[in-house]
């Protein structure tokens, strides 16, 4: 009799897992395909709109240049006697006018300096690159639409494409973040098992504010009040958390916004999620929303939608599993739990929610034991250090900041090296180009040579993957950064030691 329910749950679990897998496929691969298709459509459209105009401009420039020699010839013919000084003065003037026309052509008409009508900027590859540059909001500007229709279509193309790209990136960033976290903790566990550490240190009150490198004692003393007062400007994190958390369903494989990385995506054994009532604290709706903005103006789009209901359930799970803390009021802004139930971790900084999520689910150890949150946290951190918990969920454990930053920096340096070889720039210029591209600033003073399709393809792949990598890193280090900033602000006395306002 015991086996049947177990089997059923196992079966159910399998089926659910399969369903989720399919959904995952659909949501990620489908999104990618959509984005790729959108870029291709854009490429075709823009090429059709702008190629002719470019050809026309080139022909016009040929005529302009030939006009110069014409005028000089006419000038020579007019006078019987050629006085060198006068002649050169007149020639200089004519050349100066020619320069003005060149400037105008390059700056306003988008001439690339090449008169050959066979070498266009607006080839299919060029237009594809342009589409990518538009919807990633990089906006180099080395080719830009000059026709009226080109501009109008660009506007609408961007209006649709940018949110699409943001959704795609957030999903990919989440996916990569989860995978990375998973791999990291597996590796970490594996390495840790080789050198066993002692399990418990006494209930020292070491307090840590930063979810920094796990396993290392935080040097900062985080008071409870800091976590509580984390609310101030960092609400966005909260809201991001809450909103993104909303997207994170209790079922594994849920993916939320890049901000809301810490879903307990790997909590298969969590009980049936029950919806939590909205916290009684008076957090205006607005709070939960601007977190997105904080995260990134781009990724703030409402991709939460499909995942929205999940958040509540997730917190329900946390409630069930997490030990009680005396800090009943620590459920912070944005933390949508909080019908008075104290939860560890939730009281943390504005990333309280995320923080909560990021805690390794190990309630059993602490069930009922620690009275104060710090102690629990202490245990928790030490727990990280220990190697005994390989079986635990790895879903939301934090990854150290240094690892993520070195990953990003390594990517930029690697790209710099690659581009310095490929494009014949010096190393600093390539690094500068990579940085400007990945942050989507996109000056356009350095662009991959438009002639070779391979360089454009390489650049597109580099920047698409790089931005996904950035999304992933943000995902992973968010709460730690926020908590660091909060404790810093606390130290500086900017934040008050008050209870929630």
């Amino acid at each position: 009799m015991e086996d049947e329910p177990e089997e059923r749950t196992k079966c159910q679990y399998c089926i659910t897992g399969f369903k989720q897998f399919i959904t995952f496929l659909l949501s990620h691969v489908g999104l990618l395909t959509l984005v790729v298709g959108y870029c291709l459509i854009g490429a075709v459209t823009f090429k059709a709109l702008e190629a002719d105009h470019e050809k026309e401009v080139k022909r016009a420039m040929v005529r302009v240049r030939e006009a110069v020699s014409e005028d000089l010839w006419q000038m020579t013919r007019k006078t019987d006697i050629i006085i060198p000084k006068n002649w050169t003065a007149n020639a200089s003037k004519r050349l100066q006018d020619f320069e003005t026309e060149l400037v105008k052509a390059i700056r306003t008409s988008g001439w690339d300096g090449n008169e050959d009508t066979e070498q266009l900027n607006w080839t299919f590859t060029g237009a594809l690159f342009y589409s990518i540059v538009v919807i990633t909001t990089i906006g180099y500007g080395h080719i830009a639409p000059k026709t009226v229709w080109g501009k109008i279509v660009t506007i609408f193309y961007a209006i649709v494409g940018i949110p699409l790209m943001v959704v795609c990136w957030s999903h990919i960033g989440d996916f990569m973040a989860n995978s990375f976290r998973f791999i990291y903790w597996r590796v970490c566990c594996y390495l840790c098992t080789k050198k066993p550490k002692h399990r418990h240190r006494g209930p020292m009150r070491r307090g840590r504010s930063v979810r920094g490198p796990p396993g290392r004692g935080s040097s900062q003393r985080m008071k409870r009040s800091i976590r509580r007062s984390g609310r101030v400007s960092q609400r966005s994190a909260d809201s991001a958390m809450s909103d993104s958390a909303i997207s994170a369903m209790s079922d594994p494989g849920a993916y939320g916004l890049p901000g809301a990385t810490q879903h307990f995506s790997t909590l298969p054994r969590t009980a049936q999620p029950k919806a939590l009532p909205h916290p009684s604290q008076q957090i205006p709706h607005g709070h939960s929303h601007h977190s997105h903005k904080q995260r990134s103006a781009k990724s703030a789009e409402p991709e939460l939608a499909p995942n929205l209901p999940v958040l509540y359930n997730k917190y329900a799970d946390d409630l069930v599993r997490m030990p009680a803390t005396p800090e009943a009021d620590e459920s912070l802004n944005g933390s949508k739990k909080g019908d008075g139930k104290p939860q560890p971790g939730t009281s943390a900084q504005p990333g309280g929610i995320s923080r909560n999520r990021s805690m390794p689910p190990d309630p059993h150890r602490f069930m009922g034991k620690p009275e104060d949150f710090d102690y629990w946290e202490e245990e928790f951190d030490e727990y990280y250090e220990d190697s005994d918990y390989e079986e635990e969920d790895i879903g939301s454990r934090p990854v150290p900041i240094w690892l993520c930053s070195s990953l990003v920096i390594g990517y930029i340096v690697g790209g710099a090296y690659l581009f310095s070889n490929w494009e014949d720039w010096n190393f600093l210029d390539s690094a500068y180009f990579c940085f400007i591209t990945l942050t989507t600033i996109g000056f356009g003073d350095f662009v991959p040579t438009q002639d070779s399709e391979s360089s454009i393809a390489l650049c597109s792949l580099y920047l698409l993957f790089g931005i996904a990598l950035l999304a992933m890193s943000f995902n992973l280090v968010q709460e730690q950064v926020i908590s660091s900033v909060k404790s810093l602000a606390m130290t500086l006395g900017i934040l008050d030691d008050e209870e929630d306002r």
Partner: protein, 339 residues
């Protein structure tokens, strides 16, 4: 007794009020000030680093022009009887080389000879070469702004190695700061807007509700207070606001910069979406008498427009989120998605 209690209650209240004020200042106004201060620092910094590139470029071009003229003269003087075809052949070669060089110079920032100053124009600077202009203070301001908002026009870009390195550092710190600014401002504006909107709505609601209740025969008059918190600003309003801002900006820039309205709206959209091509940037078409002033004003206006515009967009997203989420959720449920 009551006085004492009152006093005892008053002091903590004052303290907490003060703390609230300080926190508010630091969290909202402070961040704005911080961002503006950061941009100003950046402006100075970049102005310092990049302002020295001008003269050599101009001199080079002038020299090139003279040389080409000399070369053309030599072609003309080469033979006593000059044939047309011969001349054109040789001259074209010379001019083509010259064109190539000038195109390179233009891509390096050359913008043609400075326009001759009007006679009554008081000399404010030695040269009004545009290459120098970007790295004036307002040019640096606009540049710093484009870095931290990730717009990145690119018409002014660092040419020196230290300028580039500085840009990277500046961006690393500035971009999160700007995001913080956006979130704060978006929050404030959203709250204010919601409050205003709910006040406007409330008048209508209270009116309607009271009448309804009265018709039922009940004496109770229920003000629609509870509706306040649930009032969400409709998406259409937010969208209208955004479109209106872009359109209004377009009209203004068209007037100021002598662009067409489409070009100006296109510029506003491209800037506010942080794409930032840089093909159209204010300050390029200078038509005023005092060229320097005109460019400065253009930059200042553009910077303000961008700062405010991005805050407004943050606010609109803030406001739209709830509705969009709810609507998508409904859609998702209807479509029977798993989530």
């Amino acid at each position: 007794m009551s006085d004492l209690e009152y006093e005892q209650n008053l002091w903590p209240r004052i303290k907490s009020a003060f703390r609230v004020l300080v926190a508010f200042t630091f969290s909202h106004v402070g961040v704005c000030g911080l961002v503006v201060g950061y941009i100003i620092c950046g402006a100075f910094l970049f102005q310092m680093m990049e302002s020295h590139e001008v003269e050599p470029m101009l001199k080079e071009v002038r020299q090139l022009r003279e040389e080409t003229a000399e070369k053309l003269l030599s072609i003309v003087l080469k033979s006593n009887t000059l044939e047309e075809e011969e001349f054109f052949r040789l001259a074209n070669v010379a001019i083509q080389n010259y064109t190539y060089e000038i195109v390179n110079a233009i891509s390096d920032g050359y913008d043609g000879e400075p326009k001759p100053k009007p006679l009554n124009w008081t000399k404010k600077a030695d040269s009004i070469d545009r290459k120098e202009m970007p790295w004036s203070f307002t040019g640096g301001f606009l540049y710093s702004l484009t870095v931290i908002t990730t717009i990145g026009y690119g018409n002014y870009a660092p040419k020196t190695a230290q300028g580039k390195a500085m840009t990277i550092l500046y961006g690393i710190i500035g971009m999160p700061l700007f995001l913080l600014y956006l979130s704060n401002i978006g929050d404030i504006l959203a709250r204010g807007f919601k409050w205003t909107f709910s006040r406007c709505c409330q008048c209508n609601w209270t009116f309607i509700k009271r009448r309804r209740i009265d018709e039922n025969g009940e004496v109770i008059e229920e003000p629609a207070q509870e509706e306040e918190e649930q009032i969400t600003v409709p998406i259409s309003l937010c969208l209208t606001l955004m479109v209106g801002y872009i359109w209004g900006g377009g009209l203004l820039f068209a007037e100021w910069e002598k662009w067409s309205v489409l070009d100006a709206s296109y510029f506003c959209f491209i800037s506010l979406s942080t794409i930032g091509f840089g093909d159209l940037v204010p300050g390029e078409a200078v038509a005023a008498e005092s060229l320097e002033d005109a460019i400065q004003y253009s930059f200042v206006f553009c910077s303000l427009y961008l700062l405010l515009g991005m805050a407004l967009i943050a606010m609109c997203f803030n406001l739209m989120q709830e509705e969009v989420i709810a609507k998508v959720r409904v859609c998702g449920r209807r479509l029977g998605c798993a989530r």
